[in-house]
């Protein structure tokens, strides 16, 4: 009984206590809001929240928007394809998962107008088509976006069909056993589903007319597709089923994985945006750390007094923790609102460029923002704040009894830990975060040393400066400014490091942006091929080259192409030889395009092994062939198991679990051919150039039936070349990919814009952090300049001294920032963005100069008001100090 009564009273007292402290903390904070450091702390925290919520919101919406756009190119969020109709069971499973479906059938067939025949690639769509976006079609009123397909009885056709068979709007076209009316000329299809693998001109028709064509017969080559649209969660819920489908040989394209043509660009853009978000958070963290130092310095006296009055360490901790808790709460709310407004503004700006419809903001980024604020407060301010509780009461009497400043190691360790955690959260890559963190810490130690050296160097240099003859001569101001900087060594070092990190973060985000854009431009340069010509017969080859000569780039190359199927890997059946994950690979089911070549093709990079040497160029005699009749007398003299060197594409090698030295056997026609992998290549699939998984040395494949393929760039839309080719080489299929290229370029432009906007935001965040940091250091500078004024220093001198101080600070931190940015960028390029690191010479000039200018300007602006005050006021002889 007694015990329970006691405990109840205890609880009540704790409660009363708790409320009491909460109120005390709130009042303390209210009084504190007058102080510059608390305001700076508030601004920094609000900025951290604003930055992370804004970039979070933006990224989230952009990500979803881009996924949708990618989905549009793919035809849906999920696309299934196989050679027979899909079961209705599967369709209802997909619908139950929350997906909207559209059926599609693709086949190649002869179409005709009157007496003129032409093979065409038929795309048979239903009324649900397209799930996303709209096709650009001319139905008689000029080209317009239409979010539908052709109606039953109608056909939409490729404009090439006009020149090929004279097909025009309103004409009748015969497809199989039925006749359709041409009601639209297609400029661009809403999606790329069905692909352009057939290279034949397109004809789109409605699924209701398909039966009447009589084209679908047992054994005819028809591809059935299900296009499905829905939220990622719906697609994810089907993962197990999709895996099973893949094992059954169904081709599964998933927007989360297969982003057509843009994979690497988008991936990099997202990483970049996440990186920018992190940079903004880091900047805010640095500002919080700086503001906290002053906050604690200022409250040491308060803490000591409270100790005198009998407050325990716990009570002190609680008081200040609560006080900052209030601050964090208020800052979070303000920051979140700011972030929300900011992202809305960003998007309003962006939608002017973006024909991209973005989904509304989700709640997740908001939570992430608040979490970030708390993490930043705990990580960047925590250890410094703990100093307050270690204050001894005696400090009231003996001022030197300040508790030791929180060990710099502890501060940095804690901040790094938290920041590392945030990095992990943002990037989803533990090892990368750990590596970046360790690298960053090592850099910080080095920078600390460099900073100390720089400061003492500045002091020594200042002493060497001529004294200056008159009152406010520039050299004298420089001398004085340098001295003040050098004397406040601890504080200056802190600012130097903070500014260096700030500049480095700003510069890095700028650098990476530039290099990203360059990489994107390099990926699709002006002269990216916009025409493919395939099926060039060997006997036409020279004539074709001649036709092209002069009209196109001389780098344009014709690649021989032989189709072969993989039949064995290292002598084993492929399905048994490859790792489980590689079993569904298309490469095992379909015929591969093989080529031969004596030089590495443009855009290919050797990643392992060696390219064919002169000895590898196999004379026909060395080719191994089982078909003695085909190979003639030469085969008779050679053992049939002779193996030739081949070069394999690296990613396929990974998927199939192959390495240098392994062998691959191909069936070509009726023959079998075995090659040993002597090199692995890395190539750019997004390059719009013919790419080959397997390349043989010359002298092997020539024996087999082959055709040539080429891709070339034609700058002049009016060029007669396409017409000439169609006319002179009737067997050659010519494909214009300008439209697809345009779509890819447009998407890149959009991503570029978003990257630029985010860069602008990071720059702003950096500037605000400089501002916050300088505001926090203002009281000390105010004291100094007030005293100088008492001693008789004039406006000119004071502003010059401060200007010199700021300029030196900016210059030095810019220099250190350049070092940091260069190293960090190199690390990020190599480790994360998959770009080649390079040196940025202008950075070493631009950053110090820009830094001096920026810090100088902000500092100058901030100290202007100080200079107008009377010394009485700026020394705070009566007011707060």
């Amino acid at each position: 009984m007694m015990a329970s009564g006691d405990s109840r009273r205890d609880t009540r007292r704790t409660w009363g206590n708790g409320l009491h402290w909460l109120g005390l903390a709130a009042r303390g904070l209210k009084r504190d809001l007058r102080a510059a450091d608390v305001r700076a702390l508030f601004v920094a925290l609000a900025l951290a929240v604003a930055a992370s919520t804004m970039i979070g919101f933006f990224l989230d919406r952009l990500e979803r928007g881009l996924t949708r756009q990618a989905g549009q190119m793919l035809g849906g969020d999920l696309v299934l394809e196989q050679g027979e109709p899909f079961s209705s069971e599967l369709k209802s499973t997909l619908r139950e998962a929350g997906l909207t479906l559209s059926d599609q059938v693709d086949l190649v067939s002869m179409i005709s107008r009157g007496e003129r025949f032409q093979p065409a690639s038929l795309k048979v769509v239903d009324s649900a088509y397209p799930l996303y976006g709209a096709s650009r079609v001319d139905v008689g009123n000029g080209v317009e976006p239409l979010p539908r397909g052709p109606a039953p009885g109608e056909a939409w056709v490729d404009p090439r069909l006009e020149s090929l068979i004279g097909l025009q709007l309103g004409d009748e076209v015969r497809v199989g056993r039925t006749t359709l009316t041409v009601s639209g000329i297609i400029e661009r299809e809403a999606d790329q589903s069905g692909g352009f693998s057939s290279f034949n001109p397109r004809l789109m028709m409605h699924v209701d007319d398909l039966a009447a064509t009589g084209l679908v017969q047992p054994g005819s080559r028809v591809e059935y597709e299900i296009l499905a649209a829905g939220p990622p969660a719906a697609v994810s819920s089907l993962d197990a089923r999709l895996a099973a489908l893949k094992r059954d040989g169904v081709e599964v394209r998933d927007v989360r994985v297969d982003r057509p043509g843009l994979g690497r660009a988008l991936e990099r853009a997202e990483k970049y945006l996440a990186l920018a978000g992190l940079a903004a958070v880091l900047l805010a963290g640095v500002a919080v750390a700086m503001a906290t130092r002053r906050y604690v310095d200022r409250h040491l006296d308060t803490a000591a007094l409270l100790r005198c009055f009998g407050a325990s360490q716990r009570q002190l901790t609680r008081l200040f923790a609560l006080q900052l808790g209030w601050l964090a709460l208020a800052a979070s709310v303000c920051g979140a609102l700011l972030g929300l407004a900011g992202q809305a503004g960003l998007l309003a700006l962006l939608t002017a460029f973006l024909p991209l419809e973005l989904p509304p903001p989700g709640p997740l980024p908001l939570a992430l923002g608040v979490l970030t604020a708390l993490a930043v407060l705990v990580g960047f301010a925590g250890p410094t704040l703990l100093r307050l509780k270690r204050v001894s009461a005696l400090k009231v009497l003996r001022r030197e009894l300040d508790p030791l400043p929180a060990s710099a190691w502890l501060v940095v360790a804690m901040a790094s830990l938290v920041f590392g955690g945030l990095m992990w959260l943002y990037s989803g890559d533990l090892w990368l975060s750990a590596a970046l963190l360790v690298g960053g810490l090592v850099m910080l130690v080095i920078l600390g040393g460099v900073g100390m050296l720089l400061l003492s160097g500045v002091l020594r240099l200042a002493a060497l400066l001529p004294q200056g003859s008159h009152g406010s001569s520039p050299t004298r101001a420089l001398r004085l400014g340098a001295r003040q900087l050098g004397r406040r060594r601890q504080a200056s070092l802190g600012q130097l490091l903070a500014f260096a990190v700030t500049f480095a973060a700003m510069a890095m985000i700028g650098l990476v942006r530039g290099d990203l854009l360059t990489a994107w431009q390099d990926q699709l340069p002006e002269d990216t091929p916009n025409y493919f010509a395939i099926n060039i017969q060997p006997q036409e080859r020279d004539a074709f080259v001649e036709t092209l000569a002069g009209a196109v780039d001389d780098r344009t190359a014709l690649y021989p192409m032989v189709r072969g199927r993989i039949t064995a890997l290292n002598g084993q059946a492929p399905q048994e030889a490859v790792p489980e994950s590689g079993r569904g690979s298309n490469a095992l089911r379909r015929e591969l395009n093989l080529t031969w070549r004596d030089t590495l093709p443009e855009g290919n990079r050797l990643v392992a092994g060696e390219w064919f040497g002169p000895g590898d160029t196999v004379s026909g005699a060395e080719a191994s062939s089982n078909d003695a009749a085909n190979a003639g007398d030469r085969a008779a003299t050679e053992p049939s198991d002779k193996v030739v060197p081949i070069s394999l594409e690296g990613e396929l090698a990974d998927r199939l679990g192959l390495a240098l030295g392994d062998t691959m056997s191909f069936t070509i026609g009726a023959d079998t051919l075995t090659g040993r992998i002597t090199s692995l290549r890395d190539l750019d699939w997004d390059s719009f150039r013919p790419n080959f998984y397997v390349i043989f040395p010359p002298g092997v494949l020539e024996l087999f039936g082959h055709t040539y393929i080429t891709a070339f760039h034609l700058g002049d839309a009016q060029s007669p070349l396409p017409g000439q080719i169609v006319e002179n080489f009737p067997a050659v299929s010519l494909l214009n990919v300008e439209a697809i290229l345009g779509q890819v370029r447009e998407l890149l432009t959009q991503v570029t814009r978003s990257v630029e906007l985010v860069l602008g935001f990071v720059l702003l965040a950096g500037i605000s952090v400089l501002y916050a940091a300088l505001i926090a250091s203002r009281p000390l500078r105010a004291h100094e300049s007030g005293l100088l004024r008492v001693f008789g220093a004039g406006d000119r001198l004071i502003s010059r001294v401060q200007g010199a101080e700021f300029a030196i600070l900016g210059l030095a931190s810019g220099l250190m920032g350049a070092l940091l940015a260069e190293l960090a960028a190199a690390g990020i390029y190599a480790g994360w963005l998959d770009l080649a690191p390079r040196l940025h010479p202008w950075l070493w000039i631009g950053l110090p100069l820009g830094g001096a200018l920026l810090v100088g300007l902000i500092g100058h602006g901030l100290s202007r008001s100080l200079r107008r005050q009377t010394p009485m006021a700026s020394l705070g002889l009566l007011g707060e100090s």
Binding site: R789, T870, P871, L877
Partner: protein, 251 residues
């Protein structure tokens, strides 16, 4: 207005000065200072007049809150009066802006603040060097060391203010006020934190300077022993200065 002509007229109106044939170094007429706190206006000084001649030593006494620090700040041109006229070294301060006033003070005026106003991040030596850096000379360092020696802190050159006791900080502030060789030194309770023996030594220094270099001293003090040694003692009461007799000071 030429100061030589005005000096003869003024000298007759002032009494105990030893240098009344020179132009006044400091002249205040009908000085007033009001401050606003919230929506209430508080009058600290009103219609206050004072003339000080070079080489004089003047003590200002008064109760706490009487406005002594405010007055000293005004006289040194650290703040602007609400009304009245003020001349320092014969120049009217009203005609000068903040900048001009600072220039007038440069190297000629020393100030010891009641709360010392040492820069917490600078060592004792660096604090004393600060005013010297405005008028650089080769022997700056030596002069600063010399002055710290004179106030008895020769061994504490590299200590930060917070490592020094209150009295020691006050002595650094004194050294800083005198190191430029100022003609006019304002000191707000310069011996307030010192024990009698140290206080006595410092006072000796001040008056020796006054004798040897003719430095004019304006002291705010509660220390009657110090006040008695000054040429004039003034009491600040109700915003005005009144002369005190020796008996009053002795009391």
């Amino acid at each position: 207005m030429s100061s030589t002509t005005s000096s003869s007229t003024m000298s007759s109106t002032t009494s105990t000065s030893s240098n009344h044939d020179l132009a006044p170094i400091l002249q205040a007429r009908h000085l007033g200072k009001q401050v606003r706190s919230g929506d209430r206006s508080l009058t600290i000084l009103s219609d206050l007049s004072l003339t000080v001649f070079p080489g004089e030593t003047v003590a200002i006494l008064g109760e706490s809150g009487a406005g002594k620090s405010t007055l000293l700040g005004l006289l040194a041109g650290l703040d602007a009066p609400s009304s009245g006229e003020l001349k320092l070294f014969g120049e009217s301060l009203a005609a000068l802006d903040e900048d001009g006033r600072a220039q007038l003070r440069a190297g000629r005026v020393g100030f010891v603040f009641q709360n010392f106003q040492l820069l917490p991040t600078l060592t004792a030596l660096e604090n004393v060097l600060l005013p010297l850096e405005l008028a650089p000379a080769a022997d700056n360092d030596a002069r600063a060391r010399d002055w710290l020696m004179r106030v008895g802190l020769g061994e504490r050159l590299d200590h930060l203010p917070k490592q020094l006791s209150g009295g020691e900080q006050q002595r650094v502030a004194l050294a800083r006020a005198f190191v430029t060789g100022a003609e006019l030194v304002f000191a707000d309770e310069p011996t307030g934190n010192l024990d009698p023996a140290t206080g006595e030594r410092i006072i000796e220094r001040l008056f020796a300077l006054n004798r040897e270099a003719g430095t004019t001293l304006m002291l705010v003090t509660h220390d009657h022993a110090l006040a008695r040694r000054c040429d004039r003692c003034l009491r600040l009461i109700d915003g005005q200065l009144v002369d005190m007799t020796l008996e009053e000071v002795g009391a």
